[in-house]
């Protein structure tokens, strides 16, 4: 019943809304700001009194030092993350396809049982996991970590692909079945060509999750030379207790790939967030 005309009250409300939004934006940017400026300072300039001030000049030595420390681990993370993300997306695309288009008696129940896996606190399987990997000689190996990420990726990727394929009318696949198109035929000629967005979303999701993983990395691959980047950053913080410039530079390096990917592919990331939010 309000008149849509201009009023001060509306103006004030709008202003207040923007102020709140800006304040939160600053809040969310604050840690990154501190991380970057501290990383750009030389050690002598990392003083507790001047934490919030900009560095006096562009000083990249901390980044160089941190990079020297974590570069091999950065490489490890690439070697772990890229294949894990690709393989688990591929597995997920098949599983999602089966769960949505090739239902059989009990398939929904199996799907539900898969979903439970998303809730699994890794601590609940940590000891058997270590024992099993050891028995198969995969413990402490990059391949072991890739293997584990692929397995623990099964539930979420199945969920994401299933909901995507669900959106493709069954008539389409049924018709193909009638036409004698087989299991792989339908997958290859009907679903794959239109699944690119789903693949992008899932790949991105898996990439972020696996890159950011710490717990599985520290359990399975704690050898400092083989450890993934987040384990290395944690170790860096333990080794340079007072050199915050190096800690911050290292942390920023670790965060960079996912931040860049997010900024470039924000839309897909958003869809991943929604798709990954558990809803069937």
């Amino acid at each position: 019943m309000r008149t849509p005309s201009f009023s001060f009250q509306v103006l004030w409300t709008r202003l207040a809304i923007y102020l709140v939004l800006i304040a939160f934006a600053l809040y969310f940017l604050m840690p990154i700001y501190v991380m970057v400026i501290t990383g750009l300072k030389p050690y002598t300039d990392v003083s507790v009194d001047r934490m919030w001030q900009l560095p006096r000049g562009l000083y990249l030595d901390s980044f160089a030092e941190a990079w020297g420390r974590v570069a091999p681990n950065f490489g490890n993370s690439v070697v772990i993350t890229v294949p894990s993300a690709i393989i688990s997306s591929f597995i997920g695309s098949l599983n999602g396809y089966i769960f949505s288009k090739w239902r059989f008696r009990g398939s929904n129940t199996i799907f539900l049982l898969f979903l439970v896996g998303m809730f699994l606190p890794y601590q609940g399987v940590l000891i058997p996991l270590v024992q099993t990997l050891q028995a198969f000689g995969l413990y402490g190996k990059l391949t072991g970590l890739i293997f584990i990420h692929c397995i623990f990726g099964i539930p979420i990727t199945a969920l994401m692909f299933r909901s995507y394929y669900q959106g493709i009318p069954d008539e389409l696949t049924d018709a193909a079945k009638i036409d004698g198109c087989g299991f792989f035929g339908i997958y290859q000629y009907i679903l794959l060509p239109i699944a690119a967005p789903a693949f992008a979303v899932v790949l991105l999701w898996q990439f972020t999750t696996i890159w950011n993983d710490f717990i599985i990395g520290i359990i399975v691959l704690s050898n400092p030379n083989l450890a993934p980047i987040n384990v290395a950053v944690q170790n860096l913080a333990g080794s340079f207790t007072t050199e915050w410039n190096i800690q911050m530079a290292g942390a920023f390096i670790a965060a960079l790939p996912t931040i860049v990917v997010y900024l470039l592919l924000g839309k897909l990331f958003m869809r991943g967030l929604l798709a990954g939010s558990l809803k069937g």
């Binding site: 939004l21 397995i151 199945a158 087989g182």
Partner: protein, 307 residues
């Protein structure tokens, strides 16, 4: 003639059916490795953990003598475990409240036809792309008592708010939630935003026609309508609370007088520092039991959509 045709088409149909059955079989075959993987790496491992929690493997060398609930009693009687539970409640409360309240608030504000919405949204969500370790390392620096937030507070004349943050031996855990909800709120906001966008405009208009003010509109119409999102948010943040490990490992470890200890961190120490595998299996098993409280309502809610 006609019957021959029928017979022919019947044969063709049978052939097609056979195809479909064969393909269905193929589908099951393709699915099987995943089923086995999940069965082994999730379900049997859970059972395995429960079994280890009942044996006497509390030293470097495995000892599979059955001891019943002895390890469970040891843990339950231990003051550290009791502190962990207290910390879990404190963390879950603080973390859920911040994520859900701030997440909803930001979503509701962004839903007001905001200029530059995409920029705000991008900024709010990006912490979710940052790992918990990085988050923890950055916040540990921010929460150093002699600088960081304390310095900032002092400079803006709010010196009385200065705190020991996560090194407080009683309230440390609440300050950990600040760091973790910094990382997670954007995600919850995105969920709410999607939920709000899904509410048809007519409903809001209708409510306003009825003389509903903004407050009542949200209270009686919108918040109930996004209840499914709230449910999801509770499940997600609850899972985060049960599993909490990374951020604590990066920030404070078990903290002063265990004030930031968590079940997961306790378990990690029992396993890798103390080599008490059966005792740590109790903690792992307990975490699984706790998650069941979230899994079961969740499964109920998805079931309807799936079947």
């Amino acid at each position: 003639m006609a019957s021959a045709q029928t017979r022919l088409s019947q044969a063709a149909a049978r052939k097609r059916k056979w195809h479909i059955n064969r393909d269905l079989l193929l589908a099951i075959v393709v699915l099987t490795p995943s089923i086995i993987a999940v069965a082994v790496f999730i379900y049997s491992f859970i059972g395995w953990t429960f079994w280890i929690s009942t044996v006497n493997w509390n030293d470097a060398l495995p000892d599979y003598t059955f001891v019943g609930l002895k390890n469970w009693l040891t843990i339950f009687k231990g003051t550290r475990f009791q502190t962990d539970l207290r910390n879990l409640v404190m963390y879950a409360t603080g973390f859920m409240t911040q994520c859900i309240v701030i997440g909803f608030l930001l979503a509701a504000l962004l839903d007001q036809r905001i200029r530059g919405e995409a920029i705000f949204r991008t900024i709010y969500i990006f912490p979710f792309a940052v790992s918990a370790i990085v988050t923890g390392v950055a916040w540990r620096w921010l929460m150093r008592p002699d600088t960081g937030l304390n310095l900032l507070l002092e400079q803006v004349g709010l010196g009385f708010l200065k705190s020991r943050w996560f090194s407080d031996p009683t309230w440390g855990m609440l300050f950990i939630t600040i760091a973790s909800s910094w990382q997670f709120t954007g995600y919850i906001m995105a969920l709410y935003l999607a939920g709000l966008r899904g509410i048809p405009g007519e409903i809001k208009e209708a409510a306003q026609m009825d003389g509903c003010n903004t407050w009542n509109l949200y209270r009686h119409v919108i918040i109930p309508m996004v209840a499914p999102v709230t449910f999801t948010a509770i499940v997600l943040t609850g899972m985060g609370a049960i599993r909490l490990f990374d951020i604590v490992a990066a920030m404070s470890g078990s903290g002063q007088a265990f004030s930031t200890d968590t079940l997961a961190f306790h378990m990690f120490e029992q396993t890798f520092t103390a080599n008490r595998f059966s005792i740590s299996a109790v903690l792992g098993a307990f975490m699984i039991i706790l998650s069941a409280f979230l899994v079961i309502p969740y499964l109920r809610s998805v079931r309807r959509e799936i079947y």
